[in-house]
């Protein structure tokens, strides 16, 4: 079979790269056992990758012996992206080219405390840097996403009550004081939108909405290629739009918010009689396994979310709606009813019907967006005042006057 030699070598190269990326850094000997390739093959591949500047090597000591440590080649200037979710924390460490060097997930308790969680974030940053053999000084910035609207001017949660115990917490300040690096905080749906806009499904569009369906519902709005946050950061908070006039009281104090109708707690309790106590992850898995109850609950949620998204799209007229978040892992089961509800309610113009597509970056979107925010703002921060601007989906195209650069971060004094 012609070309099979080449494709085998390609596959082995890909395997080596994947393995280095997964472990952050490892010696050639470890690389051989981790991949199952021979030491000679690994040595050859590493030499090729070194020449192609994909990886870098340095001398190290393992178990008292000299060894060659292989890490991904990194551009100067590392950044960290953190997504603080309601029940888990995602952290990614990457270089200036968005090349991910290390990542970690930490399950979090219900109503986790700001002090404990932020302490864990600081320690995770330091440990991940150690894992890839980097120093804290190599870090240009840290981006943090939270599942609540954030005031762009202060980096503090701007809607009291929705994240219990996190109101008035100076998130950026607490982390930058510990680590001495600039920290930027934003709403997670905005960060998901930013990530999809620069690296994911939003690349072809200048006007789109990113709807994040997780424990709660949120949306990030991209207009003219940049994320629109609104005056106090609550733009796109469709989780708090009213969908049930006589519904339950929401954490925000209003009645019948979308979150109270399709939030994870409501979905879980809808299944409690038939299925016992489930988690959001169980529901997603149930849908994958073809469980009729879980499927029904997700479809119905999609229909309700669709009506709320439809209202929003009438206001902002996006070209596309991108659906992400944990529940979007159920793919068309969630997305089809959202699409149908939107198409039913939104006037279809002669130009084109609104597209409703799944997110491309999956569960990593928010942390990736936090990373992108840190890289972009750390750069503009370093530039002379007034020169900074939002990261744009399509650089080089100027869509009119830009808003002043956000100062949602905290920069420690030198």
């Amino acid at each position: 079979m012609a070309g099979s030699q080449t494709s085998l070598r390609e596959a082995n190269r890909a395997l080596v790269i994947d393995t280095v990326r997964r472990f952050g850094g490892l010696t050639q000997v470890e690389l051989a056992t981790a991949t199952g390739l021979s030491a000679a093959t690994v040595s050859t591949i590493v030499r090729e990758l070194l020449a192609a500047e994909v990886v870098q090597t340095r001398a190290a000591v393992r178990s008292g012996r000299r060894a060659v440590m292989v890490t991904m080649n990194r551009r100067v200037g590392l950044a960290v992206g953190v997504q603080v979710g309601l029940r888990s924390l995602e952290i990614v460490l990457a270089d200036a080219a968005h090349e991910v060097l290390a990542r970690q997930t930490l399950p979090l308790p219900f109503e986790h405390r700001a002090d404990t969680t932020l302490d864990q974030v600081a320690l995770l940053v330091v440990e991940l840097l150690q894992r890839v053999g980097a120093e804290i000084d190599n870090l240009v910035g840290i981006g943090i996403g939270v599942p609540a609207p954030v005031d762009p001017s202060t980096g503090i949660v701007s809607l009291p009550g929705v994240m219990r115990g996190w109101d008035d917490v100076p998130i950026a300040h607490m982390i930058s004081k510990r680590l001495g690096r600039p920290v930027f905080v934003d709403n997670d749906a905005n960060l998901g939108a930013l990530a999809e806009s620069t690296l994911g499904a939003g690349r072809p569009y200048r006007d789109f909405a990113y709807v994040r369906v997780s424990h709660g519902i949120g949306a990030g709005i991209v207009i003219g290629g940049s994320v629109y946050r609104g005056f106090s950061g609550t733009a796109g908070e469709i989780g708090h739009s009213q969908v049930a006039v006589n519904g339950k009281i929401c954490l925000c104090g209003s009645r019948g918010c979308l979150d109270t109708v399709v939030g994870s707690r409501t979905l879980v309790s809808a299944l409690s009689v038939s299925h016992g106590l489930l988690t959001l992850r169980d529901i997603v898995k149930g849908v994958h396994d073809g469980d009729p109850g879980c499927t029904r609950v997700v479809e119905d949620a999609g229909a309700v979310i669709g009506t709320a998204v439809a209202t929003m799209t009438l206001t902002i007229n996006p070209e596309c709606v991108i659906v992400g978040g944990e529940l979007a892992e159920t793919h068309e089961v969630l997305i089809r009813p959202i699409r149908e509800a939107i198409r039913q309610r939104v006037m279809s113009t002669r130009i084109t019907p609104i597209e409703v597509v799944p997110a491309e970056l999956g569960p990593a979107a928010e942390a990736t967006g936090a990373l992108a925010l840190a890289l972009a703002l750390a750069e503009t921060d370093a530039a002379p005042r007034g020169a900074g601007r939002e990261p744009r989906a399509t650089p080089g195209e100027d869509g009119g006057p830009s808003p002043p650069p956000p100062t949602r971060g905290h920069r420690p004094r030198p």
């Binding site: 997964r22 016992g276 169980d282 898995k285």
Partner: protein, 255 residues
């Protein structure tokens, strides 16, 4: 793989009114516990509350004085650790009991090495070790690394992998996150989520309320060998659970 509908019917393991005393020490008094497939049950309580005694009874190390132990609804005796293993119960104790000088594979297959034609089947063992560690999403690069070269978190995953090799249905983890760094804790907690996802019943013993509330479905509070409250981890606040641990809130028990 356990289907979701199978849950909540017959528990994998159930302790009914179990009592265990050591002289004047009442380690367990009328203790009840049940664990279903696809469920993480956390045992929390002060030092000496009886958490480890429960772990030892379930894994066959200790025998209850009175009370009943049921497996899949059938009353059973677990006379020793090997009986527990063949009944589908595996345990990882605090000290891990790993051999530092042996590599990861040898530790995982310690005492039950695979043979082929009368010789050690190194390949099969290595593959199984790699598969189990991959299932746990473990970050141990090589199954030929001696255990002494591993971090505390990696050692914990080797110990868990060793417990998994016997294909258990229930796994008991005694303080798996004690003395681990945040990254290592994150790994072990992720392992616990994985074990639950593949349908195991997990008994997670810990002092750390943060870790317990992060991954448990149900939190059973123990106080002086007795049940002192059972909470749904998805909705129980720190305050309620802590009140039960410290005895600020007490369940009424017959003396």
């Amino acid at each position: 793989m356990a289907r979701i509908e199978d849950r909540g019917r017959v528990p994998l393991i159930r302790l009914r009114h179990v009592t265990k005393t050591f002289g004047a020490v009442e380690a367990l008094v009328g203790f009840d516990l049940q664990v279903h497939p696809h469920q993480v049950v956390a045992l929390v309580g002060d030092n000496g509350a009886g958490k480890s005694t429960v772990a030892k009874i379930i894994s066959g190390v200790l025998q209850p004085d009175t009370g009943l132990l049921e497996l899949n609804g059938t009353p059973t005796q677990i006379p020793g650790p090997s009986a527990a293993l063949s009944a589908g119960i595996a345990a990882v104790f605090q000290d891990l009991a790993l051999c530092d000088n042996l590599d990861v594979t040898a530790n995982i297959f310690l005492g039950r090495a695979l043979h082929r034609h009368g010789l050690l089947d190194e390949d099969a063992m290595e593959q199984a070790a790699r598969r189990t560690l991959a299932m746990l999403n473990s970050d141990i690069p090589s199954v030929r690394t001696p255990v002494r070269a591993l971090s505390a978190g990696q050692r914990q995953s080797v110990a868990i992998a060793r417990a998994l090799i016997s294909n258990p249905r229930v796994i008991v983890l005694d303080e798996p996150t004690a003395a681990l760094s945040v990254v290592q804790t994150a790994e072990v907690l992720s392992h616990i989520e994985r074990l639950r996802d593949v349908g195991l019943g997990v008994i997670f013993i810990s002092h750390n309320m943060n870790d317990v509330r992060a991954v448990a479905d149900r939190i059973e509070v123990m106080r002086h060998g007795r049940n002192n409250g059972s909470f749904e981890a998805a909705t129980a606040s720190y305050e309620t659970v802590l009140a039960a641990i410290t005895g600020a809130v007490r369940l009424q028990h017959a003396v």
